[in-house]
Symmetry: C2
Subunit: 285 residues, 2 copies
Amino acid sequence: MTDINQYSITEAVKKSFHAEDNERFTFLLEKMLDHLHDFTRETNLTHDEWMGVLNFLYDCGKISTPERHEFILLSDVLGLSALVDMINTKGGSTEGSNLGPFYLDDAPVKELGQDLGEEREGPRVLCTGIVRDTLGHPLPGAIVDTWQADSSGTYPIQEEGQDKYDLRGKFTCDDRGRYYYTTVLPKPYTVPYDGPVGNLLRAGKRHAWRAAHLHYIIRADRMRSITTELFFENTDYLDNDAVFGVRNSLITKVDRVRPEDSFDFELERRPDARLTYDFVLAPGE
Amino acid sequence: MTDINQYSITEAVKKSFHAEDNERFTFLLEKMLDHLHDFTRETNLTHDEWMGVLNFLYDCGKISTPERHEFILLSDVLGLSALVDMINTKGGSTEGSNLGPFYLDDAPVKELGQDLGEEREGPRVLCTGIVRDTLGHPLPGAIVDTWQADSSGTYPIQEEGQDKYDLRGKFTCDDRGRYYYTTVLPKPYTVPYDGPVGNLLRAGKRHAWRAAHLHYIIRADRMRSITTELFFENTDYLDNDAVFGVRNSLITKVDRVRPEDSFDFELERRPDARLTYDFVLAPGE
């Protein structure tokens, strides 16, 4: 290993690892080394650039807290999170999209038909649809776990004095696989841009806005869970969402509810608009 | 951008950046995106693996302090630092090697012939040679900036109660380009392995030892500075240095000094051994 040069060093580093009993770890490590070293050779990376990258990662670490994971944000704005979602979407199921930083796994259980908006003013939208398997069969008892920003683009968890469990809920689908609830429509918001990732966006002359969306995790027995988002036709940033979360198949149409419209389920509040979306789950492993 | 898939997303992310006025930034960014996304596609990275990598980076950030840069250490053990040194070594000049974490730019100025060992017991080695340009001409007035571990493998800066400027010095070469001083021989030591990078080494069944070495930065007017290390023949870890710092051209022979040997320069202490190494600098940019 003393006669290594800029071409042979990659194999030398691979050979320094001895995790043959862990094939997947070794595979990932060697692929990572190939790409990391190839990048460095192809760009003739200078010492200053190398140190700039390491200091950028250092700064991402310094601003991170349990509530703010700057490396996830970095992954988001580089399209890496979206790519991992795409790779892991099973054929026939609803496309995955960003989990984002605001998920709480202990969101309150809600009854079908409840309103998530609480005392908030403003128009209500009915969110409804059926959770199905890839053959089209409804999945009664499927769990629809949703969370969202409010009509000013803020998550209650971000605001001092608000209840962090607000605008969240876990619904259990009825015996026809249906979910239905009302809520306020969320507004677009920016990802945090006061840290190193924000500096990267500025250096690249990019904005930090996300298209307005509702978050969902859909689960059902013996099915593969999906984490996704729903967007709304003709709203801002669909074409340049800061984290590349939008897919055509996830854009919904919000229709006005007319006075004569009726529903075959009970709702806590009469909605002003409605969107319908059926989620599709693939079989579990 | 709403009809992106796992293949087209890479171009979509590139197009979201608009730093055309900074060609090098754009070049580095696009190469990085190619490699990052290719790695992800080639490995079919799972959500758990993706989150594992991001949490590893998060943990590297958490353990880092101004005195401990875990991302530099990561770069070191992945051979990235060595690769950057190799790429940036100019033809004909001494090969570069790791800067390491213990450099202080305000090390004390020392006189040629001084002993760096201070009150330490143990055999002295004379370090001497000539600083030259790539045509072989000596470079009078060149600065030899050196720092090292002691004979138990510890840098004074690491130890409570020791003077952090100990075992360091900046020498100015004489009118023949010569440097000469005596010191104690350093011992091998381990890189810090109590953090995430240590966990990576353990997962890969790798040790954390560095071959014993002396650190140098060599500077001269109008020449390109070099940062490098000198190693010693027949010592441990030359073939499996944890940070891939060893090069054949940087391994020196330490010869015993016999009673009848004399020197044509003044030394503060009579050495027990000597090593000779000429540093070569390429012209500056």
